[in-house]
């Protein structure tokens, strides 16, 4: 016992002795010192202080392990590249630390959010990848006065129904650059029923809340339009042989199949559907989970329709960093050695620049310390928008900042993926 007392005092002594030169009053929350050249701002949610030579801390919270790693890693890397492109803020570099993992699960989101909010130097979070994780993480992050901007949550519950009613899980500190999912189901239903003129369709989801919700929204809307859902079925993640599910679907003799799932299962479906009698002429429609290079490079994916956010980035540049999608992809390839494995990398990049720009706007340097007001940051995020790679970004009252345009592209050429992403045949926005 005595040893420990001795140890502690020795340690304290050493630490304080070495730090003599610095001021003792770094803990004051919002002092009203008038001697300073500039006044230290006040903020109802408190200030984050960044001393001279320290870094501004933000965090990435994405799904980076397990079979959903392909979803979260591009998001995390988008954050890293955006920070590099943006450069320092008021002479301080921005650090994202090592990426945190939302594990695509509510408990992962909750626990990682605790990690984030326990560190008072963190300003904001880019994440989560999965809506389920956000449900548990956003209350914690918002209550702690932080902001989070998700590049790929699409659940309407997290923001609003786009008609003024906040969702069940809406939190004031929550923003996103991803689209709101509310209308994707409706968009695809209209596309199939009105545009293609098909009266019956089947859906396949994979048991993920996102894909199941989308399939459900589609089938509700489709039936609302007067169409018939012949089969509403599902596969499991990890399934490889799709013969069984396709046989099940073929029994209903549908004209179209909507399968808003991910790789590799989505790939297995298009590869194996050729071998199923009765489905030779069926129209296939996937969703944003398959708007990824490793699906679209499959020769069999030619002819598939894909719904999702508008990916016609073309000449769009991020007005903050000046980078275009092309620049980004080149940087990505050279930094990480592979192409992004999921569609939301640009959303992540733009989300990060959005956060950094807002920090830049509200950060005030007083006496060598940088002060970032938490409420001010929220105000800045909700303020006037900018142009990102994904298009114009400006937040509504409930945190939806991205374009709500849902497009359906027709993927025609496996060797030219970019043209496939731009080949919009249908657009729908509420």
């Amino acid at each position: 016992m005595r040893k420990w007392v001795w140890l502690l005092s020795c340690f304290l002594l050493a630490a304080t002795a070495c730090g003599d030169g610095e001021d003792e009053t770094t803990t004051t929350q919002a002092p009203t010192t008038t001697e300073a050249m500039m006044e230290i701002p006040e903020d109802p949610l408190g200030l984050v202080e960044v001393g001279a030579g320290e870094e501004i801390q933000i965090r990435s919270l994405n799904a980076i392990t397990g079979d959903v790693a392909f979803l979260g890693l591009p998001n995390q890397r988008g954050v890293e590249l955006a920070i590099a492109d943006y450069g320092p803020i008021s002479g301080r570099s921005v650090s994202v630390g090592t990426g945190l993992d939302d594990l695509c699960s509510p408990e992962g989101g909750q626990a990682s959010a605790q990690v984030i909010v326990s560190d008072p130097s963190v300003v904001g979070v880019i994440g989560t990848s999965c809506s389920g994780a956000a449900e548990a993480a956003s209350p914690l992050i918002s209550n702690a006065g932080l902001v989070m901007i998700s590049p790929s949550n699409t659940s309407p519950a997290l923001t609003s129904d786009l008609a003024g009613t906040p969702g069940k899980s809406y939190q004031v500190g929550y923003y996103r650059t991803a689209h709101n999912d509310l209308f994707q189901g409706q968009a695809v239903a209209r596309f199939v029923f009105d545009e293609l003129g098909l009266g019956n369709a089947a859906t396949i989801h994979d048991g993920d809340p996102y894909t199941q919700g989308l399939a459900q929204a589609f089938s509700d809307a489709f039936e609302g339009l007067g169409g018939e859902i012949t089969t509403f079925t599902a596969v499991n993640k990890g399934d490889t042989d799709m013969t069984a599910v396709l046989t099940e679907v073929s029994a209903g003799d549908p004209e179209a199949i909507f399968f808003p799932i991910f790789m590799p299962e989505g790939g297995f479906i298009v590869q194996q559907i050729g071998g199923i009698s009765g489905l030779e002429d069926v129209v296939l429609i996937g969703a944003d989970g398959l708007l990824a290079d490793n699906f679209m490079e499959l020769p069999e994916s030619e002819g598939v329709y894909l719904s999702g956010p508008d990916l016609r980035y073309g000449a769009n540049t991020n007005s903050i960093t000046g980078k275009s999608a092309e620049d980004f992809l080149a940087a990505y390839q050279s930094e990480y050695g592979e192409a992004p494995s999921a569609a939301f990398w640009a959303h992540s990049y733009d989300a990060t620049t959005m956060l950094l720009r807002a920090i830049d706007q509200v950060a005030m340097e007083v006496d060598g310390t940088l002060y970032i007001g938490r409420q001010a940051l929220r105000d800045a995020l909700s303020g006037p928008g900018f142009n990102g790679i994904i298009g114009h970004i400006e937040c509504d009252n409930w945190g939806d900042c991205g374009s709500q345009l849902i497009t359906v592209v027709h993927h025609n050429d496996a060797r030219d993926i970019e043209s496939g992403k731009s080949n919009v045949v249908f657009g729908f926005s509420p």
Binding site: T65, G66, D67, A69, F70, L73, G207, F232, T233, A234, V235, N236, G238, D239, T240, D241, T243, A244, V245, T247, E248, S250, A251, M263, P264, G267, F268, Q271, G274, G275, I276, S277, G278, N294, E297, L298, P299, E300, Y336, G337, E338, A339, S341
Partner: protein, 348 residues
């Protein structure tokens, strides 16, 4: 307790009959899948099952000689499939793949087999050899550790994205008439190659000198050593043979499904383990038949039984069907379809 067990058996049989009858009625009303669809289901199931069987052989080999479940065997399979991808991709880029497909696929096969074999052998040397004398839980837990380690090493080394093999030429993917049935060429190839490999393995174990030493080591390592058999080398041999089978399965898998990622091995690994148990663990013919049975039942079962019960989204319940089949088989035959072959050491 006994009567309860009988109750379970009875209910199982009734549900089975009820479901099948329901499906037949549906079929008679023209609502269910067509005859061709059933045929395709069965063929796909057998193809999938053949690969389960190949992987299951590795489980059984290792179980035979060392008496524990090598959980990491699924990863051995994945390693083969993954390494084959890089060769296949290269050959595709230089247009060798489409021009000399057979040669290309042989090269891929060779790569897969060698990689899987190497991984299996390294794993044995590094992790299992020092644990020879430990209780069985210890190597089991080690194998779980190895499974994680290999998976995430591959994720780190080669990236997390799903990698797509180039497609086989159309000639192979078209339907081929076989025994009066129209079967997709790839599936036929998979089934034929798998069966040949299994047969060769069986001959190897039963007829060759190494095979005999593997059997001797499986029964009693100490005595086998007394006979002058190099036990270490024999155990390595059985890991290597298991690895070869997994490598073959890796190539076939890639030919048929074409998508490979770092987590590809996990689920087939579990299924193959199930297949090995289903057939009677440690029993090589059992592993093959167990694999074929599991694959087929998994493919057909949900349609055949559950659809007839009026359950929606039956494909989602595929694994429920597969594992229920396992439970039922083991309730009726507690040592698997063909009975286990435990070594004398296990019995003691």
């Amino acid at each position: 307790m006994d009567s309860l067990l009988w109750g379970v058996r009875l209910i199982a049989i009734l549900v089975l009959i009820w479901g099948v009858a329901g499906t037949i009625v549906q079929g008679l009303n023209g609502a269910g899948p067509s005859a061709e669809a059933w045929r395709d289901l069965v063929v796909a199931g057998i193809a999938q099952g053949a690969m389960y069987g190949l992987i299951a052989l590795g489980y059984s080999m290792v179980y035979g000689v060392l008496g524990f479940i090598n959980f990491a065997h699924g990863e051995v399979f994945m390693a083969g499939a993954m390494s084959g991808f890089f060769v296949a991709n290269y050959l595709w880029q230089v247009h060798f793949w489409d021009n000399y497909f057979v040669l290309a696929i042989l090269l891929v096969l060779l790569t897969s087999v060698l990689t899987s074999m190497l991984v299996a052998v390294i794993v044995e040397r590094v992790a299992y050899r020092p644990l020879r004398a430990s209780p069985r839980l210890v190597p089991l837990i080690t194998s779980i550790g190895i499974s994680f380690f290999i998976q995430y090493s591959f994720a780190g080394l080669f990236g997390v994205a799903v990698k797509n093999y180039p497609p086989a030429p159309d000639s192979l993917r078209n339907r081929i008439g076989f025994l009066g049935l129209e079967i997709e060429g790839t599936k036929l190839a998979v089934i034929v190659v798998a069966l040949i490999s299994m047969g060769l393995l069986y001959l190897f174990v039963e007829k060759t000198r190494t095979g005999r030493s593997i059997r001797a080591v499986a029964e009693d390592k100490e005595i086998a050593a007394l006979m002058g058999i190099n036990v270490d080398r024999t155990i390595v041999a059985s890991f290597a043979v298991g690895g070869v089978m997994a490598g073959v399965a890796g190539t076939l898998w890639s030919l048929l499904f074409r998508g490979v990622a770092f987590h590809t091995g996990f689920l087939p690994g579990i299924k193959a383990f199930t297949a090995a148990v289903l057939g009677g663990i440690g029993n090589l013919p059992g592993a093959m038949v167990g694999g074929l049975f599991l694959g087929t039942f998994e493919g057909v079962g949900s349609q055949l039984v559950l659809a007839g019960l009026g359950i929606p989204a039956v494909s989602q319940l595929k694994d429920v069907v597969a594992f229920t089949a396992l439970v039922l088989v083991l309730i009726f035959r507690p040592t698997g379809l063909f009975g286990e072959r435990l070594s004398s050491e296990d019995r003691a």
